[in-house]
C-alpha cells in the first residue's frame, strides 16, 4: 500500500510538472491524450492496489482516481484530454461488452431463463415504479419544472426514472473479472444486467417519443430530426446488425487464420469505435451482439475469444473506469445531493424489493436470491450516456434533469461495486475461476537471486 501510494505520488508529480509546461487551458492533441492515458492507467492501478488492501474493489479505486485527477477536482486531466480519450473509451466499452456476450451461453442458461426473466422484470418494474413515484413527488419542488404543467412534469419523471432504471454490464463484468468470481450468483447477475440493459435502452426510445409528444416542438428543441424513436430504432437495430457482422467476421478469422486473435479483435473494435461515431452505433450493443453471436451461434467458443483478449482486459478496465470517474459530475452531484441521495435510496429499495419478489416467484435458491439485487445496483456507462442524451435532446429542461440524474448515478457508481463485491464474497464465489490465465503467470520482476547478484 505504501509502495502504491509512493508510485502514485511520483506519477502525479511528473504529470503535474509536465502539464505546467503549457497554460492550464491549453493541451496538445496527441501528447495530451497519451499523457492522460498513461497517467490514468498507472494511477488507476495504484489506486486499485490501495483499495484492494482496504478490501474494497479495484474498480471503485479506478473510478475515484479518475474523479480525483479529473477536470472537476485536481484538473490534471482536462476536458479536451478526456475528449481525446473517447476512442479509447469506445474500444474499451466494445471489449467489455464482447466479453460479457461471450460469457452468456443461452443453452446453459435455458434452465434458468425463467428465473432470470422474472427477477429482471420484477426488479426493473418495481425500481421504475418507485422512481417514477419519487420523481413525480419531488419534481414539483424543484425549480426547473416550475413553469410546467402536471403532464409535462410526469413526462420528465418518466424520462428520469427510465434512465435511472439502467444497470451496468460494464461494472458487473469488471467486478467479475477483477475478483475472478464464478458461480450461480455471478452468472445470474451478468445475465440480468445484460438483458435488462437492452430492455432499458429500448424503453428509453419509447419514453423519449412520449416526451416529444408532450412537449411542444418549440420547447423540445433538439437537432436529432423529426423522430427520435426512429433514430433510436436505427441505432439499436443497426448496432445489433453490426455486432452480428463483427461476430461473423471474427468467427471466420478465428477459424481460418487463428493467429493473433486478440490483436485482430482489438483492431476490429477499433474500427467499430471509429466508424461507430459516424454511423451512430452503440459500441456496447455492437460488442454484446458480437459476443452473443460468437458464443451461441458461431462454431467458435466465446471463451476462446475471452482467453485471447484477456491480455487487454486489465488495461481496458482500468482506463475505462478511470475515464468514467473523470467524467463524474461532482459539481452536479453537490447541487442536487439531497435529491440524488433520496433517488439512489428509492432505486435501491425498488431493485431490492422487486428482485427479491421475482426470485421468490421463480423459486431461486434463497442464498442467490438474497444477493442478486446487489448486482443490479451499480450504474455507469449506459446511464451516463442516456443522461447526456437527455441534456442535449430536451432543451431547456434537459440540462437540469440530466444534472439530477447524473448526481444519482455518482452514488450508484461509487457504492454499487462495493456492495456487489461484498455480495460475491459472501456467496463464496470470489477467486473460483481457475483457467489458464495471465493472472497465473509470473511477471518479469527480478528474482531474489537477481537481487543478491546486484547487491
Amino acid at each position: 500500500m505504501i509502495r502504491a501510494a509512493l508510485v502514485l505520488a511520483l506519477v502525479a508529480g511528473i504529470s503535474f510538472a509536465a502539464r505546467s509546461f503549457l497554460p492550464a487551458d491549453a493541451t496538445i492533441t496527441g501528447s495530451g491524450a497519451a499523457l492522460a492515458f498513461g497517467f490514468l492507467l498507472i494511477a488507476a492501478m495504484q489506486t486499485g492496489h490501495i483499495f484492494h488492501d482496504l478490501r474494497l474493489p479495484h474498480l471503485t479505486g479506478f473510478i475515484l482516481c479518475g474523479a480525483l485527477f479529473g477536470p472537476e477536482v485536481l484538473r490534471l486531466i482536462t476536458p479536451s484530454m478526456l475528449g481525446d480519450l473517447t476512442l479509447v473509451k469506445k474500444v474499451a466499452v466494445g471489449l467489455i461488452a464482447l466479453n460479457a456476450g461471450c460469457e452468456l451461453n443461452f443453452a446453459r442458461l435455458r434452465p434458468k431463463i425463467r428465473s432470470i426473466g422474472l427477477v429482471s422484470i420484477f426488479g426493473l418494474l418495481t425500481e421504475f415504479v418507485l422512481l417514477f413515484g419519487f420523481f413525480s413527488f419531488v419534481l414539483g419542488r424543484i425549480e426547473f419544472t416550475a413553469g410546467m404543467t402536471s403532464a409535462q412534469r410526469l413526462t420528465v419523471a418518466l424520462i428520469c426514472s427510465t434512465v435511472l432504471s439502467a444497470l451496468s454490464p460494464a461494472v458487473v463484468m469488471g467486478i467479475l473479472k477483477e475478483t475472478r468470481a464464478v458461480g450461480p450468483l455471478s452468472e445470474m447477475c451478468l445475465s440480468i444486467v445484460v438483458l435488462a440493459d437492452l430492455a432499458v435502452v429500448v424503453a428509453f426510445s419509447f419514453t423519449e417519443s412520449v416526451a416529444r409528444a408532450v412537449f411542444p416542438p418549440d420547447v423540445a428543441a433538439n437537432g436529432a430530426g423529426p423522430s427520435i424513436f426512429g433514430a433510436l430504432a436505427v441505432h439499436i437495430f443497426g448496432s445489433i446488425a453490426t455486432g452480428i457482422a463483427v461476430g461473423l467476421v471474427s468467427a471466420l478469422y478465428i477459424r481460418r487464420v487463428g493467429q493473433r486473435i486478440g490483436l485482430f479483435v482489438f483492431a476490429v473494435l477499433f474500427v467499430v469505435a471509429e466508424i461507430g461515431g459516424a454511423l451512430h452505433l452503440d459500441p456496447l450493443l455492437v460488442g454484446l451482439s458480437a459476443g452473443l453471436f460468437l458464443e451461441n451461434i458461431s462454431p467458435v467458443s466465446g471463451h476462446e475469444v475471452i482467453h485471447e483478449t484477456e491480455v487487454a482486459a486489465m488495461p481496458t478496465f482500468a482506463v475505462f473506469f478511470a475515464v468514467v470517474g473523470a467524467e463524474v459530475h461532482l459539481h452536479a452531484f453537490f447541487t442536487v445531493a439531497p435529491y440524488a441521495a433520496l433517488a439512489a435510496l428509492t432505486r435501491a429499495t425498488g431493485i431490492f424489493a422487486g428482485a427479491r419478489f421475482g426470485a421468490r416467484v421463480a423459486k431461486v435458491d434463497p442464498e442467490v436470491a438474497a444477493r442478486v439485487p446487489f448486482g443490479m445496483f451499480p450504474q455507469a456507462g449506459v446511464a451516463i450516456g442516456l443522461a447526456n442524451l437527455v441534456a442535449t435532446s430536451f432543451k431547456p429542461w434537459g440540462e437540469a434533469a440530466s444534472t439530477l440524474i447524473l448526481g444519482t448515478i455518482v452514488i450508484n457508481e461509487m457504492l454499487g461495486p462495493v456492495l456487489f463485491r461484498m455480495a460475491l464474497a459472501r456467496a463464496g464465489e470470489i477467486g473460483k475461476k481457475r483457467e489458464g490465465s495471465l493472472l497465473d503467470l509470473p511477471a518479469h520482476a527480478p528474482t531474489p537471486e537477481a537481487d543478491v547478484e546486484t547487491t
Partner: protein, 439 residues
Amino acid sequence: MHPDRLRIIVGLASALGLAVLLAQPKVKALEQRFGVTVLISAGVPFLAMGAIFSLDSVGILTPEVLIDLKPAFEFGLGWVGFVVGLHFDVRKLDALPASLGPVIVLESVVPMLTTAGLCAIALLAMGVPWERNAFARDALVLAACAAPSAPISIEAWERRVGRKAARMIDEVTSIDEVTGLALLGVVAILFRPENVATRWVLPSPAWLLLTLGLGGVLGILTYVLLRGARNAAEELTLLLGAVALSAGVAGYLALSVPVVCAIAGALLANLPIRDLEGLKKTLLDVERPIYLIFLLVVGATWRPLEWQGWVLATAFVLARVAGKRLGAIWSKRVGPKELPSARMLAIALAPQSPSSIVLMVSAATLYHGYGPERVRWAINAVLIGGVLTEVVVRILEWRRRRTGVDLTPIPPTRVHAPEPPKPLADEAPVITTTPEGNA
C-alpha cells in the same frame, strides 16, 4: 447509408485486413527468406494506401480520422523507443570484442556525415532558406535516419560469412539505432519548436539535462512498476501505462518521444529484470502493427508527384550507401579480423532499418508546423529511400556475385579432426563455412 460513411468503413476495414495479413508470421518468414525488410513487404502497399485514402475524392483518412489516430501515433513512437533502448544492455556491450566499438561508431557516424552533407546541399539547391538554419535541421534529421541498418537474417548471413562475423554484424545492426536516436535528441534540443504559449523558457543545455533526467526518471519509474507487478497481466498493463506516460510527457514538453523512451528503455535493460528477453518479446510483438499504422498515416502526407521528394530520396540513398561503404572500408581496418570484407559488410549494413521511419515520424511530429512541404520531402526521402536502397543493395549483390571477387577471410567450414597438439593447445576447434563469393 451515406456514401462517405460507407467509404470510411470500407477503407478502414481494408486497411485492417491488409495489416492483419502483413502481420502474419508467414509474411515475416517470407521476408527473412528473401532478405527484405518491412519497408518493402508492407511499406509500399501501406504508403500507397495512405496516400490514396487521404485524397479528397476518396476521403477515408480525413483530418478527423487522423486526429483520432494521433494518440496511437505518439504511443507508437514511445513503444518503438523503448524497444530500441532495451537493446542497449551494457553487460552485452561489455561482452563484445573491444574492437567492435569503433565499427559501430564508424558504420553509423560516417553515413550520417555523408547524408547530412549531401542532403544539405540538395535542400539548399531546392531553395530551402538559410534562415534559422532550417536546412541544417532537416539535413541532420535525415542524417539521423541514415544511421540505423536493418536487422540481418542470421541464418542467411551465417552461411555467407560464418557464425562469428554474422553475430558481429547482428550486434552492429541492433546498436546503431542508438546513434541515430542520439542525433535526433540533439536536433530536438538545438532546434526547439517555437511555441509562444509555453511557460518554460530554458537554454539548450537545460533541455539536454531535462531529456536525460526525464528518460532516467521514467526508466526508474517503469522498473519500479514492473517490479511491483503481481502477474503477467498486471505487468503488461503497467508497461502500457509506462510507455504511454513516457511518450505523453516527452511529447507534451516537445522533446523527441523515441529518444526519451529509449533512455528509459536503456535504463530498464540495465536493471535486474528476471526475463529481459521475455519483456523484449512482449514489446516486439506489437512493433509491426505500429509500423503499419505509421506507414498508413505517413502515407496520408505523401505526395509522390513532388519532384523534390524524389531528388532528396536519391541524394539520401546515394549518401547513405556511400557512407556505409566508406564506413565499412574504415571498419575493416580498425575492427576485429573476423569481420567480412568491406564489400560484404557494406552490403549487410546498407538496408535501411524500419526504425528510420520512427525517427522521421518523430521529427515530423515535432516540426510539422515548419515548412510542411519540407516535411513531406523528407518523409519521401526516407521511405522511398528505404525501398531504393534495397534495390541498390540487390544490384550490388548481383554485381558481387558476377565478379565473384570477395576478400572476406575464409571462415572454416567443418570441424576438423583433432590434430596433434600444438603449442596453443587450448584453442577451440574452428567451424568453417565457405563464403558465397569464393564458392
